[in-house]
């Protein structure tokens, strides 16, 4: 089994301007935040971000690195509307592909299966089609002749996901209540980089959870980054819950440019994940 251990900065070195980057997790849940902050520290620009959006989307939209966003929603869960994302949208200038959240997974699935689209009914009659004229409909070739929406494949250059456990070869294990769509993100991407709470020997997976929790196969993973509390301040159960106080502080910076600059300088400009955690833990 190959050894794929690397650092956040090793991941950034493999990325380039204009890439389409998918980010796993859901809202403010199990987001690969140490990798997102590495993106923020980089010089990368003109990115397309594909995500069931949370603070990953808020931070990247705010940073000016994003040309286009594809999402079903952007939310902090306990704070329903993501304030930094809202600001970026209301300022204009970011192209968006706003899909039904169920249809969104079909775009990932189509990319994973290397087909151009998957059909569904979601979107007919709604402004999902009016506002996104690039999405087309398709007529069933069978006798019913039904018109359906053809959700285009969301081919990703790179996927970033965060798991509870992984081995050095790139097999990933989730121990929380929901995998969300992280396996589809990995399969939809040319390259996937997976951070995790803890790298463990392969034979220890079954000490952590049942075989059903080992959901990310290494054939879809190019790099493994050990990042304890790497999803902070989003939740990563059972290892930890959401840091609600920190999330509130983050959300409040949207209203106050000085507070934002201070937040950015203290946390986002921290040169490494370790330095970030030291700031989070500082009194």
């Amino acid at each position: 089994m190959p050894n794929k251990l690397m650092s956040e900065d090793d991941v950034i070195a493999q990325l380039s301007d204009g890439m389409t980057i998918g980010i796993g997790g859901w809202g403010s849940r199990r987001k690969p935040m140490s990798l997102v902050r590495a993106l923020l520290r980089s010089d990368l620009k003109d990115l397309t971000i594909v995500s069931y959006g949370g603070p990953d989307v808020g931070l990247l939209a705010k940073s000016g690195k994003v040309r286009k966003l594809a999402y079903g929603f952007v939310s902090l869960d306990s704070i329903p509307l993501e304030p930094h994302f809202r600001q970026a949208r209301q300022a204009g200038g970011i192209e968006v592909l706003e899909l039904d959240e169920g249809a969104f997974q079909l775009g990932l699935l189509a990319a994973a299966h290397r087909v151009p689209f998957y059909p569904c009914r979601a979107g007919l009659g709604s402004d999902m089609l009016t506002n996104n004229p690039e999405i087309r409909t398709v007529t069933s070739p069978y006798d019913d002749g039904e018109e359906l929406v053809a959700i285009p494949a969301m081919n990703l250059d790179v996927a970033l996901i965060h798991m509870n456990r992984a081995d050095a070869g790139g097999n990933g294990q989730f121990l929380g209540p929901d995998l969300y769509f992280d396996d589809l993100f990995a399969m939809a991407a040319e390259k996937t980089f997976m951070s995790c709470e803890k790298v463990i020997p392969t034979e220890d997976f079954l000490k952590e959870g049942t075989v059903h929790t080992i959901k990310i196969p290494r054939i879809f993973v190019n790099g493994v980054i050990e990042a304890p509390r790497g999803a902070h301040f989003t939740e990563c159960p059972p290892d930890y819950g959401r840091d609600e106080a920190f999330q509130k502080e983050y959300a409040a910076t949207a209203k106050d440019p000085d507070a934002w600059e201070a937040f950015k300088a203290r946390y986002l400009d921290a040169p490494s994940h370790e330095a970030y955690l030291a700031e989070v833990d500082a009194p």
Binding site: G72, R89, G102, R121, G125
Partner: protein, 258 residues
């Protein structure tokens, strides 16, 4: 418990009953209410007249036993694992009745919670996005709980259609619209439905003490008003007792009333 020993139902309890009534006759489907008042309504319906429905713990399982609302350490007794992926499959199967909110709604039930403003590339106010509205409306039953009955919400024309209403469905034709069904719209003033010849929104019942004029004044389009509008029904003593002591013992539902 006798009716005499039960204090009179308050508005939040009338509303819960009006929404619970939306589930009547649904049978063995996923009851999927979003928000505290809708969750109270779904749980009350299951505890009383729709015992076969299933519902989620809001995380990843269906709860076999009554799961109280607003009790953070309440633990579900799982009857099925139900992560988001399975929820989406279930939406498309149609065996589901969802209750959502709306920032804007028009007379045919077109719903917007995506964004406010005419320019999609630069909205005046970005809201939730499409979330599951386009797929919900065209695949399974949908009802709405709208805590703010005002002309700001009930408008002649919504800025963005996230959940399509009946006029849009008519344009699509019978084949595409065959699973579309908006069952009920409930507010602190009244219950409404679309049971009219042209599927325009109709006043179904008035909550106690509310007048037709009050509803008309706070609705920004012409509602269908029948000659006789009944009063929304009172909860039974049993329903009140279950709601107050078992479903929502801390009164979390009251927070959704201004």
């Amino acid at each position: 418990m006798s009716a005499e020993s039960t204090s009179e139902a308050t508005l939040d309890e009338i509303v819960v009953i009006a929404l619970a009534e939306a589930f009547r006759g649904n049978g063995e489907i996923l009851c999927n209410p979003i928000g505290t008042v809708p969750m109270c309504a779904g749980r009350l319906a299951r505890e009383t007249f729709e015992p076969d429905m299933v519902y989620t713990d809001g995380v990843s399982v269906l709860s076999a036993e009554l799961l109280p609302v607003g009790v953070p350490d309440a633990v579900a007794v799982p009857e099925t694992y139900m992560p988001y992926r399975t929820i989406f499959d279930l939406v498309w199967s149609g065996r589901r009745h969802v209750v959502m909110g709306a920032s804007q709604m028009d007379m045919y039930g077109n719903q917007n919670f995506a964004a406010i403003g005419d320019d999609y590339s630069k909205p005046k106010a970005q809201l939730l996005g499409m979330r599951g509205a386009p797929g919900n409306l065209i695949n399974n039953k949908t009802s709405y709980w709208i805590p703010n009955h005002s002309t700001r919400v009930f408008v002649p024309k919504v800025d963005v259609v996230s959940g399509p209403g009946y006029d849009r469905m008519r344009e699509l034709g019978e084949q595409s619209s065959r699973f579309h069904h908006i069952v009920r719209v409930v507010t602190p003033l009244c219950a409404m439905d679309f049971e009219t010849d042209d599927n325009r929104m109709r006043l179904r019942s008035l909550h106690p003490g509310v007048t037709v004029d009050q509803v008309v004044e706070n609705t920004g389009f012409e509602l269908v008003i029948p000659d006789d509008v009944p009063e929304s029904r009172q909860p039974t003593a049993e329903e009140l007792q279950i709601l107050r002591t078992q479903i929502d013992p801390n009164g979390a539902r009251k927070a959704e009333f201004g």
